[in-house]
């Protein structure tokens, strides 16, 4: 295992070292100590490595991740795993705003709570939150799955496209064009797989599914004339 002291060696050295790891690198396990809330830790990774961050991080931790597994042993600031393409990001603590924003793929697991705008504009990422999520989550979410074991804040799924939202607890309010939908067997199967991937012991049958009513897909034009 490689240990990297972020405080001693600096952010630029960290990210360029991680970027230098090839697909077949033997240095597959990395531990980053002294993150101390720094921004842009382990961003733009593109190798099947596992990075353990021993502490909390600032903005955009694991941004645009591909292939790598990034495990944060602490809480994370805004925009964690933003625009993730593939791989996995696990947060032991809580996540600030915009967790998993615009993510195209991969899995983001938040073991604590997530703040507002979790999964905003998500485009294929799977996000599993063990706790609650804040307001305006999954705003304009295009595709992928958002699983919330706790409660959701106001305006969940506003202007939603084709992303699927699963919430176990209460939803304070649904955003424009977001509605509750029937939980069919294929959704239960999918949700069970997501819960297992996210390390949740919740039962799929306890969740409700929300999705787009598809009423905002086209402009409302009066064609009477």
């Amino acid at each position: 295992m490689q240990t990297f002291d972020l405080e001693a060696e600096g952010l630029r050295a960290l990210n360029s070292t991680l970027h230098a790891q090839a697909a077949n690198t033997n240095q597959t396990h990395w531990e980053i100590v002294n993150p101390k809330g720094s921004h842009a830790i382990a961003v733009g990774l593109d190798a099947p490595i596992e990075v353990n961050i021993k502490g909390s991080t600032g903005y955009y931790c694991a941004g645009m991740n591909k292939q790598a597994t990034v495990h944060v042993h602490g809480s994370v600031g805004p925009g964690t795993a933003e625009n993730m393409m593939s791989g996995m990001v696990v947060v032991e603590g809580d996540a600030s705003q915009y967790a998993g924003a615009t993510g195209h793929g991969g899995t983001l697991v938040i073991k604590g709570n997530a703040s507002s705008r979790c999964g905003i504009s998500m485009k294929g990422i799977d996000i599993i939150v063990h706790g609650n999520i804040g307001h305006m989550s999954a705003f304009m979410a295009q595709s992928g799955n958002l699983v919330v074991c706790g409660d959701a804040g106001e305006a969940l799924g506003d202007s939603l496209y084709e992303a699927r939202l699963f919430v176990r607890g209460s939803v304070k309010s649904l955003g424009a064009d977001c509605i509750e939908k029937e939980m069919r067997p294929e959704h239960l199967t999918l949700l069970e797989e997501l819960l297992e991937r996210g390390g949740c012991d919740a039962k799929a049958s306890e969740f409700k599914r929300y999705g787009s009513a598809r009423q905002l897909y086209n402009f409302n034009i009066d064609n009477a004339y």
């Binding site: 921004h39 961003v43 600032g58 903005y59 925009g79 625009n83 924003a101 294929g124 897909y217 086209n218």
Partner: protein, 456 residues
Amino acid sequence: MKDEQKGAPRNTGPHGAPRTMPIQSATFSNPVNAEIRRAAATGIYDIRGGGAKRKLPHFDDLLFLGASMSRYPLEGYREKCETSVTLGTRFAKNPIQLDIPVTIAGMSFGALSGGAKEALGRGATMAGTSTTTGDGGMTEEERGHSNKLVYQYLPSRYGMNPDDLRRADAIEIVVGQGAKPGGGGMLLGQKISDRVAEMRNLPKGIDQRSACRHPDWTGPDDLEIKILELREITNWEKPIYIKVGGARPYFDTTLAVKAGADVVVLDGMQGGTAATQDVFIEHVGQPILACIREAVRALQDLDMHREVQLVVSGGIRTGADVAKAMALGADAVAIGTAALIALGDNDPKWEAEYNALGTTAGAYDDWHEGQDPAGITTQDPELMARFDPIEGGRRLNNYLKVMTLEAQTIARACGKNHLHNLEPEDLCALTMEAAAMAKIPLAGTDWYPGKPGTSY
């Protein structure tokens, strides 16, 4: 009775008394009334491209003074007049070197056909300048055919991915556009083809509205951290531009520099290729003429003029416009509408088809509807087939060459051996408005409205 037979109003009353002439209201003009009727029939605002169509103070209201007794000119064609520009000297490891200071502005694949994007790449590469992606991701057509490609980072993040970031030559963070400062993009369902839908990860055929704010940062303090992230992902190689619409250019430029921009792109309200509500296009934002000096003042106050480069756009048409923008302090310009016209858009040869669409060549602005007879702003395979990317590239290169030669002609006449050496002192203004906006003396005077020390 003769008048009556023609259906024209009679100009005399029943007893031969003169009638008043029918007078059209300047307030409720025919175009205004037509729009009211259209709104009443459909219940939706008018969406279009083409930028502000109202008459605005513009570069036409400035003139160059030229050399004479007190300055001497350079010999046309014989004495050197450089046109090169380097963008991204502040922080980027690999600044962009351009042969000419005219770049191609961001226009999306989706808005434009793949062939049109290819033509822009071909023409710009031949002319030694850069092209820019748009709100739809990077296509192979444009990456393959553009020697220098600027990758836009937009609120929608359609198609955004780290591999394309790394194969871009620069990154342009779009905060706003001149046509709609404060607004997001629009693309109607007719243009969301299978390929466009797949690139944007959207259902086919929907009317797509892009977000107006970025999803994961708010304000310049956040943006500074976002730029750090983008630089870390790309190993500090790429110049990072920030594009803003002409809103509050002094503060916007100051904050862009504070956030860490290498280049500020400033787009005036004539910037035309973005589709949005007509009311937005005509009533929000400032003309580019009013923005340049304020942006330059911000850069000068920060001691960053020429260190952070300024690219201006919105209504650039000729080499004279290029020279005037540069004399006001810009490092380069960008063209969008003009490039589409060079490719063949709004060409009178398609007049019959423009008529069938209820418009006429030169006035066609419903590019977002995807029915462009010229085959440029469409995803319809039959219309697209009308457009030849190789011929389009040739035409764009020719046009860029003419603009450059024109700008050089003016610079030499002003005694300048590089376009960057043009300066406000080379200019005079024809109107009070232009004088005030550009802080250039009114012709025949040494005064402009607002000149320090001249107020009552």
